[in-house]
Symmetry: D2
Subunit: 344 residues, 4 copies
Amino acid sequence: MYNLKDDYSEGAHPKIIESLVKSNLVQEDGYSMDSFSKEAIRLLKQELNNDDVDIHFISGGTQTNLLAISSVLRPHEACISATTGHIATHEAGAIEATGHKVIMVDTEDGKLNKKLLKPVLQKYNFEYAVKPKVVYISNPTELGTVYSKEELKSLYDYCLGNNLLLYLDGARLASAIALEEMELSLENINKYSDAFFLGGTKNGALLGEALILSNDEFKKDFRYILKQKGAMLAKGRIMGIQFKTLLEDQLYLKLGAYANGLAKYTNNELRNLGIEFLVDSPSNQIFPILENNLIKELRNSFNFYDWEKISEDKTCIRLVFSWATKEEKVKEFVNIIKNFKGIN
Amino acid sequence: MYNLKDDYSEGAHPKIIESLVKSNLVQEDGYSMDSFSKEAIRLLKQELNNDDVDIHFISGGTQTNLLAISSVLRPHEACISATTGHIATHEAGAIEATGHKVIMVDTEDGKLNKKLLKPVLQKYNFEYAVKPKVVYISNPTELGTVYSKEELKSLYDYCLGNNLLLYLDGARLASAIALEEMELSLENINKYSDAFFLGGTKNGALLGEALILSNDEFKKDFRYILKQKGAMLAKGRIMGIQFKTLLEDQLYLKLGAYANGLAKYTNNELRNLGIEFLVDSPSNQIFPILENNLIKELRNSFNFYDWEKISEDKTCIRLVFSWATKEEKVKEFVNIIKNFKGIN
Amino acid sequence: MYNLKDDYSEGAHPKIIESLVKSNLVQEDGYSMDSFSKEAIRLLKQELNNDDVDIHFISGGTQTNLLAISSVLRPHEACISATTGHIATHEAGAIEATGHKVIMVDTEDGKLNKKLLKPVLQKYNFEYAVKPKVVYISNPTELGTVYSKEELKSLYDYCLGNNLLLYLDGARLASAIALEEMELSLENINKYSDAFFLGGTKNGALLGEALILSNDEFKKDFRYILKQKGAMLAKGRIMGIQFKTLLEDQLYLKLGAYANGLAKYTNNELRNLGIEFLVDSPSNQIFPILENNLIKELRNSFNFYDWEKISEDKTCIRLVFSWATKEEKVKEFVNIIKNFKGIN
Amino acid sequence: MYNLKDDYSEGAHPKIIESLVKSNLVQEDGYSMDSFSKEAIRLLKQELNNDDVDIHFISGGTQTNLLAISSVLRPHEACISATTGHIATHEAGAIEATGHKVIMVDTEDGKLNKKLLKPVLQKYNFEYAVKPKVVYISNPTELGTVYSKEELKSLYDYCLGNNLLLYLDGARLASAIALEEMELSLENINKYSDAFFLGGTKNGALLGEALILSNDEFKKDFRYILKQKGAMLAKGRIMGIQFKTLLEDQLYLKLGAYANGLAKYTNNELRNLGIEFLVDSPSNQIFPILENNLIKELRNSFNFYDWEKISEDKTCIRLVFSWATKEEKVKEFVNIIKNFKGIN
């Protein structure tokens, strides 16, 4: 049985394991003051081509989101998210638990834009309702769609002009950046957001996300915020070592590209077979719509999530590819479909 | 320069590293549903000699404390802690951030008892003040002192009789259990508390604490609580693998005994030199009071914390020993003191 | 200029003022332990035909909602409300500020029912999302529509069968009860809910809502909750005196019936003129759709809220009638419309 | 049985009742936008000799404290209070419920000063602990002691120099201002604080405190904060009318002086009888230490609080005088003591 359920079924990329083994008995300062974390921060700033940012390593995405967002909101301020956004439906009310409403906006493809935000600001403009302050997006989105550089810039400009802060959840950011047609880079993502994170957990690390704060509103006293929410690991070195390794020779980007490649291959093969998709996603998650009979057959050898029932006999499934996914397994998966369709 | 500052200066115990390497590319379910976590839970239940507990792995101590305590409190309920308790002064207001007061009680040695709790319940007995519900202790305490089995039982009985829940922070619990004279074991700690955690981070793991919930008030829906606070790691396996290794052949206990041994050695040697201590602590942290000149000399080769100024020319320092502390380094440390005292 | 904007433009019903004057210099215990509050509670329990409830007087509706709802929720639990519900959009994120998500459900007429709740429970059934616990409704709703006894019973039965608590916001409850066709009474509202409040502010009092808790989950330690949120007034007598007066000879019901009468009169007159309404509301708020020209003319003598733009030349307005609204003013209002329509 | 228990045993001052009666049926805008509130604000600004403040009326003291303090704190910031401070022990954890620690400082007489604050700032200077931001004081304090103008100025200067905000709880402020020797006035209290409130509830109003915000950090969006916590009354007029009346011809000050006069009279008479006091308080609360036998006798005709057991046969009681306390009753009280002492 092979897992195409997610991008966190395995441990860490071998280079990361190697770094952990090698550094294991070196004595270091605790709480992310170790030399590895410092070097990872240096490498990341170099990649951002910007020294004027604060960087913190945090163990997971939900924690990173709640820490960053709650740190800048006054009690009556709120966060705007797509209805499909991770904070809106997959974090068990994490933002609300810090005291703040998540204003949900319906979208076609998981992406927010100026046109969708405008009516929200018109509606939430008075003391009877909460006051929008942070706009939350993820790139790629939870539907695998990607904001291009142009879209991101446009959204950021709108936020800037409307006293909103733009926060970007980059749990799978390497996959987005690795898509050349999007013209993204860590440098321009930093330029067109107030804060964002580069995900490690879903891109080869055992755990860890790198939170980059560029707007001063986020920066002040952030280590207090980390400490208070239990996010400051005694052995912060474990995240420093991993991000140092992911950043050396842009390993993070290579892993993102590899996962994208498998997704694209599968995408193409399935489209050639006339298979439809829930949404057109270029990143490492895809959402094909398959016959229930076919799904049943695939489940003999593969694990994956049912995403949504489409009709009586068709279901949309989610496939996720990662740095660890084996090419031959993907081919095997496609072949089962080809056989089912009578092609082979 | 050698670190005696804390018990988290190195990475993980070599056996843990070995387990991580070995398991690295095995596909597993996420969010602590992996086979390693299941096996670690099985081993821990065996050690507890109790199947009727819920066990969760959480990345650090502050997070474990705030999750467990806030999960059982209604808005007006509060937590009692020694003034020296970790949640009272070293967690940046983590409990208060969940909406609950920490009632602080002055103690002589960091330990709470029936006699200290009684006046608190007499004072906090009316709707003008908060209502005490959870009693927080740590074993060993932040001063290295240890509750014996008898003391723990007595405190638990008092809580039971006064509608209080007893929660035990076991960040360094292995050190306490390894002290035979205390007659402690995971089994009786579980018996005489409503919830407690066995610390991994300070006893050989890269990260991770094992939270054991025995009282049903804590158990219900706890995975929701984990998720909401961002404490459920995608690759929960990293904690499962480590605790499995720590529990096999009671490795956790051997590491605790080793650290205690170095502390005891140092303790004895220093007492023989007439050196006084802030408090009589049998566990892996000790608090000798040294001349400032001597401290200056020690700092040429060793790192450690100044704990408290005692007089113009004397200071109490904290020394921490761990599974990774080298015997010859400890001897070197003691020898510097002997030389200073003109003994050698 | 005459106000038809709301039901809180005047002070208190003359009988209430009389009671306040008469009792003014009598010494009484503070914090709602006064004899007037006790008598009001006695009268209310008599009206409920139930002695096994706890009753608290609270200064306003938003505060009552947030106190009651937050008192029974654990951190991961949430509240379900119609999208038009007061807590969903008109309380500035009051519930979220206590740490809990409000799950919003679209409705046709502001009312929830079994059919609308079922898919919510199907979706929110796992630790990734919050866990629904309280169902919030208001009767009448924010659209003036009313749950009949039958509808309320059916909803309550559904909640009972699905481990949900039903909480009813009765800011304008007297208006609903005064509608005979709904077969409502304080007695059956109490029977078919876990907690509810009878509004005073919008029905003749200067301030005050009477919160009735019948389910034990709400009752315990509620005075702590009141105190902690600053809701326990030193001179609680001011609410006791008012509710005592409102309950004597069912004054509350007479005031509700009076307001309903004016609404019904206006409703009938306008329908006879062929005017359409946004929704069919039998209570003291109505929502006619008028030509903008007519609205402009009405505004020469009357104040009221624009509710919603319907088309280029038509707007829905909200008219609210109360115990204090003068009949001749309502007739004057209707006459302006008749003149505009060329009837008079 | 006559009450000397508190200053809220009666209703409102007759002039206030008169104003309520007179204004009762006038239509006004809701939510403190009425003409009475506007006039009260105008009068208060005149009294402050300052136009650059924001003023809000809130129903009670605990609510005012929690609203103001929580509105300016980021998650990791805290409030400093005397251990005897109202927020520290008499508000059921109201501040903590908003997520913030109250750092408690032991004092001799309930008053904070530079010397007491300095060690707090030295201790709380690092991310392991919360970060002090607001200093809470009350004037008069909970022990009836009073900060003079000079003491207030000195404390404010210290706060200004240490990045702290000074917030003053003025539940009984009129009593403090009415003491000429303190050289206080609304004008200089405003000058030497960042925010404060002038209490109405304990000085002749049915309910209501006037919160004055002078520092811009407090001002922004405060109506959102009011709304979110349920503190914005629909009939805000009830507070506007009362404060308008209290401010006209400085009625508030006359009532404060009257209460002080009775306290002073009692104080003098008792001191002449050799009776000792817990603390030397010049304001409307006094704390004599009496024989238990005497107390028993007084209780035949008077109600008052036992404050603290002093010895086996002596207890400190609290006596509170107000605008409504009758002179002849106070004389009667003193006479019982004189008789007991064998003087009469």
